[in-house]
């Protein structure tokens, strides 16, 4: 009572003559009104602009810098891209060439890039909140649609928003994209690209329809438990299966296997091959250039060879010899879609190779596996597991339909709002960290997850994260003029009988033709215009390489004469490009004077010997292919056109465009056409 009375009395004192509190309150009101604009005046960006002015004040180029300085909020506005960037408000010296030595942010000069800062703005590459004028909001905002800044190590991801082809400046991104296809990520995760296409896997998971013919249940069990213990380079990831699950899946796969219908050669030669000279098998393996695609572990423990096909170090443990022989004879019978070419080996060669490969075993891989005969329950459970883990997404399995959209689509994963991510405790709450953690330890994100465990190195994880971060919302809404047309994908298949032959040989596994095929070997789309028929025929019979230092080389397929003739005819007629007129430049009969003039031009005017060699004794050029026999290989018309504009014929080639005059080109062509190689050497080979 006493207290409330006191309050009442003091209120009464206050309100009885309200003029006093009125005067005081008005004064406070005035002060309160003054705070708000003052707060505006002492804003963060003004602080940075003042610091910038102090920084440039004492420099020798102060005059220029001060003239360039614009006070107030600086804005880049790109209405078509929806970009409003005010980064330059604080990053004042971004475009000042003179500030290249300044390392203190935010005032340093932007490193040189192929794009103009004012045309592309900042957030398109760096992300962050462009409209913000405070550091925290600009750099770290996570409210959709804003994103925090992209860490510099993933910066290549930003290039990938517009550039869908491989760029020389973005090795990480390129590697990540290759890995997405190579490691089968895109089997389960759909990745749609802005041009409407879908990213396709480049690995070849084998069909499991006839698995029982190929291998044993024990091997399957051991493989399922840990594919990398069989071969460190194995593509298949580890699904971290329990012993029982692996047992049941192997039981199901064996029980579910059907006969392939491949005409199995009886393994008559098995004993013979064992006794045969093992070096004969090894040299056949070498002559056939199997190592172009397959790797093996050498004595030193290094894995040597290509990675297009599986590593063969333990192949003898894995496959049954009779299956191996039938596979080598015609791989298409077992796996119709395989990239393995159908070599024309003789029965004896098949026996040799089978014996050679069957001897490559790491028998301890299955040594500790002892499986009891499968029960129907185990098989049924295995079937359930196979469906659950989505094995059929990659592998063809009899009776199990390939599931659609098995895993979350990743087409816009690079713009996923943080609010939609579930982080594990203790991790950095950013999208790149989330992606890296998800790639490295997918099962840490909760029970019941099915994504398998890969064994990636940290540069590989970085590369994959970079590739995933390039899949942004923005890449779909880029202004038309920013979109870089990606190379057209085609479904080109060579036609006719020759086409069938080329399919058997899987030419397109290595060579690109008319926009489809691998990039291991040269593009053949213009082959018909560039080479001599005779050379091509010879080459198919005995493919000696142009660059002997390479491990990956064109294999010898043991083609018959008719097959070679057919293939040569087809290539010479089907792979022509317009604009190269074989009659325009005569192949032979150039005057010696012209040849001599060409020699002068070659050695003095353009100094071609810096990269190429014509005379192996004196020239030292190793960058480009040797030209000692170029005259018998290439047509004059092609050489002429090539000299005038190499990039027109093969975009991206490093051969410089020297803007050659017609006369120079003609003389040089004459000189090069004269380089036919000595007939003797040819004969020796």
């Amino acid at each position: 009572m006493q207290a409330s009375n006191k309050i009442r009395l003091s209120w009464r004192a206050l309100f009885r003559d309200p003029i006093r509190p009125f005067g005081v309150a008005s004064l406070f009101l005035l002060m309160a009104f003054a705070i708000a604009p003052a707060k505006d005046h002492f804003s963060e960006w003004r602080h940075y602009q003042n610091a910038y002015l102090r920084l440039i004040h004492d420099r020798s180029d102060a005059g220029t810098l001060q003239r360039h300085f614009r006070p107030g909020i600086q804005q880049i506005w790109l209405p078509e891209a929806g970009v409003v960037d005010r980064c330059k408000t604080c990053h004042e010296g971004m475009a000042e060439a003179g500030l290249v030595d300044v390392k203190t942010q935010p005032f340093g000069k932007h490193p040189p890039i192929p794009h103009s800062l004012t045309e592309f703005g900042c957030v398109v590459c760096h992300r962050g909140q462009g409209v913000a004028t405070t550091v925290a909001e600009a750099h770290d905002s996570t409210l959709a649609p804003e994103e925090p800044l992209l860490p510099a190590r993933y910066m290549e991801a930003s290039c990938g928003q517009c550039h869908h082809e491989a760029l020389s400046g973005t090795p990480k991104l390129n590697q990540g994209r290759v890995m997405l296809a190579r490691y089968g990520c895109v089997h389960c995760h759909t990745v749609k690209l802005p041009d409407g296409s879908t990213m396709m896997p480049s690995d070849e998971p084998p069909p499991l329809t006839h698995i029982a013919e190929k291998t044993s249940r024990e091997w399957i069990y051991a493989w399922l438990k840990n594919p990398q213990s069989y071969s460190a380079t194995a593509t298949m990831p580890n699904f971290l299966l329990s012993d029982d699950d692996a047992r049941d899946i192997s039981a199901f796969l064996i029980a579910n296997s059907a006969a392939s219908g491949a005409a199995h050669a009886v393994l008559v030669a098995a004993t013979a091959t064992r006794t045969a000279d093992p070096s004969a098998g090894a040299s056949l393996y070498g002559e056939s250039f199997c190592a172009s695609c397959h790797a093996t572990q050498n004595a030193a423990g290094d894995v040597v060879g290509g990675d297009l096909g599986p590593e063969l170090t333990g192949i003898g443990t894995k496959v049954k010899p009779e299956w191996l022989r039938s596979w080598l004879r015609n791989p298409h019978e077992y796996a119709p879609g395989t990239s393995m070419p159908q070599y024309r080996w003789t029965d004896q060669q098949l026996d040799l190779l089978t014996g050679f490969l069957a001897a490559k075993s790491n028998s301890d891989f299955t040594a500790n596996v002892h499986l009891d005969p499968a029960t129907p329950e185990q098989i049924a459970h295995g079937r359930k597991l196979v469906a659950e883990y989505g094995c059929a997404v990659c592998h063809e399995i009899r009776g199990i339909r390939k599931p659609d959209n098995f895993a979350p689509e990743l087409s816009r994963i690079g713009s996923k709002p943080l609010a939609q991510l579930v982080f594990t405790s203790g991790m950095n709450q950013t999208l790149p960290d989330y992606l890296a953690a998800k790639i490295q330890h997918p099962r840490d994100f909760g029970p019941g997850l099915r994504m398998p465990q890969y064994t990636f190195t940290s540069p590989q994880v970085d590369a994959l994260s970079t590739a995933l971060l390039s899949l942004t919302d923005r890449s779909f809404t880029m202004p038309q003029q920013w979109q870089v047309a990606s190379p057209k994908r085609s479904n080109y298949q060579p036609a006719g009988h020759a086409g069938k032959l080329m399919a058997d040989l899987n030419c397109q596994a290595c060579h690109r033709m008319n926009g489809r095929g691998g990039d291991m070997a040269p593009d053949l789309s213009a082959e018909g215009s560039s080479v001599h028929r005779q050379w091509l025929n010879q080459f198919l019979a005995n493919p000696n390489t142009l660059r002997p230092a390479l491990i990956r080389r064109m294999p010898r397929f043991n083609l018959t004469d008719t097959e070679r003739a057919e293939l040569t005819d087809y290539i010479m007629t089907a792979y022509q490009i317009p604009g190269i007129d074989p009659d325009a430049v005569s192949d032979s009969g150039s005057s010696p004077a012209l040849v001599e003039q060409g020699r002068q031009i070659f050695y003095s005017k353009y100094a071609c010997q810096g990269c190429h060699m014509v005379d192996p004794k004196q020239d030292k050029g190793y960058v480009g292919p040797p030209l000692t026999t170029v005259g018998s290989r290439l047509t004059a018309a092609w050489i002429d056109a090539w000299l005038k504009n190499p990039q027109a014929l093969r975009p991206g080639t490093i051969e410089p465009n020297r803007d050659m005059s017609d006369d120079d080109a003609r003389a040089l062509t004459a000189f090069l056409m004269a380089q036919k190689g000595s007939g003797k050497q040819e004969a020796k080979r």
């Binding site: 009125f22 005067g23 005081v24 309150a25 008005s26 004064l27 005035l30 209405p79 005010r86």
Partner: protein, 163 residues
């Protein structure tokens, strides 16, 4: 209370002057606050950033323009004219009432469709109600060799950009 009563009864003069002081303090503060609010409103109403196209226009490379050609860019409303002496840029906005003029190649002059003003290639008025010639705009070559025009900067006539 007690003090209040005392001051009321004992010193009415003092009380009156005190009231007057507080009245002045209150009203004065409010007056100042109101004036401050006016300046506050002025600050607030002046935009700090503009969503307007930049006055600087990139007109592209030199070879796009042949000698003795008059090129109208309707988006930025400028004429880019190449003559023997070099380049110059004119605004395409008529100085009369702001209509968009057009180059008449057959007449060799710039004509305004609204009220019939006519200008020659250098922007000088030939006929019509336009009060001033078409102003020349500041032009320069960028580091990349592009012709740049600043629509907000007027330069004296006959200052060609020599290439």
């Amino acid at each position: 209370m007690a003090e209040d009563n005392k001051s009321r009864t004992a010193e009415p003069e003092d009380e009156i002057s005190r009231r007057a002081f507080f009245t002045k303090l209150g009203l004065g503060s409010i007056g100042l606050a109101a004036a401050g609010t006016m300046s506050f409103a002025y600050q607030y109403m002046s935009p700090n950033v503009l969503y307007e196209p930049s006055p600087v226009v990139n007109a592209g490379k030199v070879d796009r323009y042949s000698i003795d050609s008059v090129t109208l860019d309707p988006v930025s409303a400028i004429y880019l004219i190449r003559v023997q002496e070099g380049f110059f840029a004119l605004t395409a906005i008529c100085t009369h009432l702001g209509c968009m003029t057009a180059w008449k190649p057959e007449l060799g002059m710039i004509a305004c469709p609204c009220h019939g003003s006519r200008f020659n290639r250098e922007g000088q008025k030939l006929a019509g109600p336009a009060p001033k010639p078409l102003p020349w705009l500041h032009t320069w070559l960028s580091d990349d060799g592009d012709i740049m025009v600043d629509r907000s900067t007027v330069i004296p006539a006959m200052q060609f950009l020599r290439i």
